[in-house]
């Protein structure tokens, strides 16, 4: 165990690395501080593009499968299967067989993001009241219109929760992109021989704050996009208020 003072000192060094920067351990190269901005930009661009591609693939697929109730086993279990493959193994596989770089690593992230989005979209679509869909059909909506105008908006909160999970996983995994020669914020974490222990710790704090901020931001966005009709009193609270009452009337 190191003393408290030494721990504080390490964090002070880490913050100096993040906000001021300094010379690399190997010498000659400036690291940290403003040099982190391109890394942050790469990190965000890589994550954003990967999630966008995954959404374009998984949301329509989930909607169609959910609407037609096809391939239930696949749609439900793909996310548990996806969990069993560690990102590092997937990355190793891609590096060994396809190569390094932005596209190869982006593909890994897309593959990582598809399962949670697909499963949540499927579940969202199948959980919609059959009466609502029947009513829409009775009003003369075509199947395509039902998918776009009824099932997509009503399932949006659940679909979005999957997108949020996928985004957080992608931003987290983009940290190990430097293994595939993509310069993200993970660079100082994976190469302390260049960036020093301060860089390693500083970047770790930065990445942790970044993911927490993105997760919180998407959580707020999820609340904002929930259609007003679906925003009811939180079921737990409602249960707490009235369940007792009902129980009492039942048991007496």
């Amino acid at each position: 165990m190191t003393s408290t003072l030494a721990v504080v000192q390490q964090f002070v060094d880490a913050f100096r690395y993040v906000f001021v920067g300094g010379e690399s351990v190997t010498g000659g190269v400036q690291v940290g501080g403003a040099e982190l901005i391109p890394l942050l930009r790469n990190h965000l661009v890589l994550s954003f593009v990967s999630v966008a591609v995954a959404i374009v693939i998984a949301v329509p697929l989930g909607l169609v499968l959910g609407h037609t109730r096809r391939a239930e086993f696949l749609a439900i279990n793909i996310s548990s299967a996806g969990r069993a493959v560690p990102p590092l193994a997937l990355i190793g596989f891609f590096i060994a067989y396809i190569g390094v770089g932005f596209d190869a690593f982006g593909l890994v992230l897309v593959l990582l993001a598809i399962p949670p989005i697909l499963t949540s979209t499927y579940v969202a679509t199948t959980q919609i009241e059959p009466d609502t869909v029947d009513a829409a059909r009775g009003m003369g909506l075509t199947e395509g219109q039902i998918v776009r105008q009824v099932e997509l908006p009503l399932g949006l909160p659940t679909t979005f929760s999957g997108i949020r999970i996928a985004t957080v996983a992608v931003v987290a995994t983009a940290t190990i992109a430097p293994f595939a020669s993509v310069r993200t914020l993970g660079l100082p974490i994976l190469f302390p021989n260049v960036h020093g222990p301060a860089g390693q710790l500083g970047a770790s704090v930065l990445v942790a704050v970044l993911t927490l901020a993105i997760s919180a931001g998407l959580g707020a966005l999820q609340k904002a996009i929930t259609p007003r009709g679906l925003k009811t009193v939180a079921p737990e609270r409602r249960r707490g208020l009235f369940a007792n009452l009902r129980r009492r009337t039942q048991t007496t």
């Binding site: 165990m1 190191t2 030494a6 721990v7 390490q10 964090f11 548990s80 969990r83 069993a84 493959v85 560690p86 990102p87 590092l88 193994a89 997937l90 990355i91 190793g92 596989f93 590096i95 060994a96 067989y97 957080v168 931003v171 987290a172 995994t173 940290t175 190990i176 293994f179 993970g186 974490i189 994976l190 222990p197 390693q200 710790l201 970047a203 770790s204 704090v205 990445v207 942790a208 993911t211 927490l212 997760s215 737990e236 707490g240 369940a243 129980r247 048991t251």
Partner: protein
């Protein structure tokens, strides 16, 4: 096949990291679930806290512990335990909340105290959910433990990373990770079948 020995030690280290972390995590999550079940108001903050822990990328979490607990297995286990909490706490809370009110009323009517009710009625009925959470946590932990080498705790991640562009190495080490995850999942499933004989429906 003469290189097989290279994977034995990392494999067992990986198993050790996973099993120890999930076991400790299970105990902590169970304690949190009981607290959340008794005091409903704490439910949201507790689940939110474990979710925030889970959000932190593993690569950075391992290294955030470095100034406190240094290099080695202990730091890795602390981080992996923190990760395993979310899935298990969620499933335990869902399981306990899903026990029908009628059954609890019947048990109270038979004179069970709240403590007896929890351990003899609610917990057993929540078992399918609890096992589901345990399976998710185990499989996820196998994946997260691949980065434990960053803090000097070895594991199969070290084997993958050490020769990341050597095809058969990546296939063997990565394949062992996947197999370990599947094996743990099957093991927990069979324990689940044995301990909840009343659930004959298909396991989700």
């Amino acid at each position: 096949m003469q290189n097989w020995d290279r994977y034995v030690e990392p494999f067992f280290q990986h198993v050790l990291l996973t099993v120890v972390s999930v076991t400790i995590g299970f105990v902590i999550a169970a304690a949190m679930a009981v607290v959340a079940h008794r005091r409903r108001r704490l439910n949201g903050p507790l689940v939110g806290f474990t979710e925030a822990l889970f959000t932190i990328p593993s690569a950075s979490a391992f290294l955030l512990l470095l100034p406190f607990t240094g290099f080695g297995t202990v730091s890795a286990v602390i981080a992996l335990t923190a990760y395993s909490l979310n899935a298990m706490l969620r499933s335990m809370v869902t399981g306990l909340a899903g026990v029908p009110e009628d059954i609890k009323d019947a048990a109270r009517g038979m004179g069970l105290t709240e403590r007896q009710l929890l351990w003899r009625v609610e917990m057993p009925l929540a078992l399918p959910e609890i096992f589901a959470g345990l399976r998710i946590a185990s499989v996820t932990t196998v994946g997260l433990a691949t980065l434990a080498f960053l803090i000097g705790a070895g594991g199969l991640g070290e084997s993958i990373e050490s020769q990341i562009s050597f095809k058969s190495n990546v296939v063997v080490a990565g394949g062992l990770c996947v197999l370990l995850a599947i094996a743990l999942d099957l093991l927990i499933r069979s324990v689940q079948r044995a301990t909840t004989p009343w659930v004959r429906a298909r396991l989700t």
